[in-house]
Amino acid sequence: MDVKEIVVISGKGGTGKTTLTASLIPYLENTVVADCDVDAPDLHILLHPRLTRTREFIGTKKATIFSEKCCGCGNCINHCQFIAISPAFIVNHLKCEGCGVCELVCPIEAVSLHDVVVGNIYEGETPYGPMIHAKLVPGEETSGKLVSEVRNRAREVAIERGCSNVLIDGSPGIGCNVISSITGASIVLIVTEPTLSGLHDLKRVMDISERFSGKTYVVINKYDLSLDLSEQIEQESNRRGHSVILRFPFHKNIVKAVTEKNIPSLSEKKLFEKARWEDFLRKISDGVKV
C-alpha cells in the first residue's frame, strides 16, 4: 500500500514547527505520527503517548583501547584523523567516529571497536493513533540514521495498521538529520517566521526540499511581527513556485496552550478558525491526494 509522508520542517528552530505538527494531528485521519526531531523530541509532551515498546538503537561503533595491552607505540594517535585519542591513549568517545583505522594500525590488537547505543526508540498510542519517537543520547552523532529508523518504523506501523499517512515532525537545520527526515516525502511543510534569519534559513531549507522531496508548502508563523518580511517570504516562495498556505498571527495563547501541555488547535479553536485553518487543512489533503 502506498503510504504518504507529510513532513514538517523549519530550518531555523523556534518557529513553531512542533506546535504546528501537534495542531495538525487531530485533523488527520488514518495517520501515524513520527517525531524525527531526535535531538529535541517534544511532540510527546503534547500528545502524551502511552508507551507500548521501547528499544535501544545501535547506530555506530566506537573504539576502546585496552590499556593493559597497549605498548604505547602511538600508531593509533598518528593515524586517527579525528583527533579522538589522547596522549594517554584514551579514546574520547565524543569524538571517535568509529572508522576503525586505529584497530587497523595497532600492531598488537590493543584496540577494538564495539557497538554503541546512540538512542532509544519509543512506540506508543495516542488518542489520535500510533506514535513513534526517539531520543538521541546526548553527544551522539548518528542522528541521521536514527531519523531514518524512526521514519522506517513509522512506515511499517502505517502498513501494519492500514494507515494511509505518516506525519513527521522533522529535524531543524539543513544538515544530515533534515535530509534524512524529508528524503522522498510527498509533502514538505516549511514553517518559517518573518525575521531576517527566518528568511535566510527558509531559502536554504527550500534548496534541500526541492532537491530531496516532492511538493513544498510554506507556513508563516507569527506573520504579524513583520508584515514587510512576511511579504518578502511570500515573494520568495512564489518565485520558487511554492505556495504559502497558512499565515498564523503571534498570540500569547499559543504559548499558554503549550505550557498547559494542550494541543493548540483544540484549546484555541477560535484563533485557528480566524487564521483559516480549514483552508489550510483542505490544501494539505488535496496535496496528499495528488
Binding site: 523549519s10 531555523k12 528552530g13 523556534g14 518557529t15 512542533t18 535531538d39 529535541a40 523530541p41 517534544d42 509532551i45 561503533k61 593515524h79 584523523q81 565524543l94 569524538k95 567516529e97 568509529g98 572508522c99 576503525g100 583505522v101 587497523l104 594500525v105 571497536l113 531520543k135 538521541l136 546526548p138 553527544g139 551522539e140 552523532e141 542522528s143 541521521g144 531543524p172 537545520g173 539543513i174 544538515g175 544530515c176 535530509i179 517566521e193 518573518p194 525575521t195 531576517l196 534569519s197 527566518g198 535566510h200 534559513d201 536554504r204 534548496d207 534541500i208 532537491r211 507569527k222 511581527l225 513583520s226 514587510d228 518580511l229 503571534f250 500569547k252 504559548v255 503549550v258 505550557t259
Partner: protein
C-alpha cells in the same frame, strides 16, 4: 582569556540573541558563529568581511592502472563508501568520512586523496567593532564538524571568545563546545524548553564544562523551568523578559541592546557575572 559557549537544546530559544548582544557590548571579544548549518550572527553583527576560506574534506581516488580490484578497501570502509567488483572499484565521496583507512589497507598503492569543498569560513569586523568569524556548511553536506574545528583553531588565547554553538546535542555541538571554560544554556520557560535543556545539561556534565542558565522570554510561560533548575541545583545567571517590541526589532536584524538601554545593563551585568565565575573556577 575565557572561552564561553552559548548553547540551547533547540533552535530559536535566543542563543544568538545572547551571544550577539554580549559580543556587541564587548568589542575586544571575538564572536565565533559555529552554528554552521544556520549561521545567523552575521545578520545582526553585519560584519565587513575581510577574508574567507574554503573548508575541504578528503576523498579517495582510485588509480585504475594500479587497482587490481581485490576489494580490500571496500571491506575495510566502515561507512560503505567503496564498492568493489571484478571489473571496477568505485568510491562514493558523499559517504566518505575521510578517515584515510582505505589507502592503508590497499596493498597496491592505488589510493590517493583529493579534496572537495564542504563549506566556507568568513571573518570580519562587525558594526560594533567586535570581530566575527562564522562558517557556512554547503547545502546537502552531512557534517559541519570539520568547519567548526577549523573555526575553533583560528583564534588564539588573547581575547575572550564567545561561541554561538549549534542547537541540540549532536556531534557538531560537541565540536563547538569542546574545551570551553564555561557554557551558558539559553532556554525558555515552556515544557519544550525544559525538556530540550535536559539533554544539554547531561551533555555538559559528561564533558565536565561548568555552566549556568539564562532564561529567555521570561514570564511568558510557567514555572517548570525554574523548578527544574532548583532541583538540579543549576544557577540561573539571568533572565531576558519577553517583550513584543523586542520580537519586532529582532525580526529586522536589530539587537536588543540597540532598542532599549535597560538591556545594555542586563547584558553587561551578565558579562561581568560570567567573568567573575571564570575567575573563581579558572583563575583566568
Amino acid at each position: 582569556m575565557m572561552k564561553i559557549a552559548v548553547l540551547s537544546g533547540k533552535g530559536g530559544t535566543g542563543k544568538t540573541t545572547v551571544s550577539n548582544n554580549l559580543a556587541a557590548l564587548n568589542s575586544d571579544a571575538i564572536l565565533l558563529d559555529c552554528d554552521v548549518e544556520e549561521p545567523n550572527s552575521h545578520i545582526f553583527m553585519n560584519p565587513r568581511i575581510k577574508g574567507d576560506e574554503d573548508v575541504a574534506k578528503d576523498y579517495p581516488v582510485i588509480d585504475e592502472e594500479k587497482c587490481v580490484h581485490c576489494g580490500e578497501c571496500a571491506r575495510f570502509c566502515h561507512y560503505n563508501a567503496i564498492i568493489s567488483g571484478p571489473s571496477a572499484t568505485i568510491t562514493m565521496k558523499e559517504i566518505c568520512h575521510s578517515c584515510r583507512g582505505c589507502a592503508l589497507v590497499c596493498q597496491h598503492d592505488a589510493i590517493t586523496y583529493k579534496q572537495r569543498e564542504i563549506g566556507k569560513i568568513y571573518s570580519g569586523t562587525s558594526r560594533f567593532g567586535t570581530e566575527l568569524v562564522y562558517g557556512e556548511l554547503k547545502t546537502g553536506e552531512l557534517s559541519g564538524v570539520p568547519i567548526i574545528n577549523k573555526i575553533r583553531e583560528m583564534t588564539g588565547e588573547e581575547h575572550s571568545i564567545l561561541i554561538d554553538s549549534p542547537p541540540g546535542t549532536a556531534c557538531s555541538t560537541v565540536a563547538a563546545v569542546e574545551d570551553c571554560d564555561y557554557a551558558l544554556i539559553v532556554t525558555e520557560p515552556t515544557p519544550f524548553g525544559v525538556s530540550d535543556m535536559k539533554m544539554v545539561v547531561e551533555m555538559l556534565r559528561t564533558m565536565k564544562i561548568p555552566f549556568s542558565v539564562i532564561i529567555n522570554k521570561a514570564w511568558l510561560g510557567d514555572r517548570e523551568v525554574y523548578d527544574y533548575c532548583r532541583e538540579e541545583n543549576l544557577e540561573i545567571l539571568g533572565e531576558i523578559p519577553f517583550d513584543r517590541d523586542i520580537a519586532e526589532a529582532y525580526s529586522t536584524g536589530k539587537l536588543i541592546v540597540e532598542c532599549d538601554p535597560k538591556y545594555e545593563d542586563i547584558f553587561q551585568s551578565l558579562w561581568n557575572k560570567i567573568h567573575f565565575i571564570g575567575e573563581r573556577i579558572h583563575g583566568c
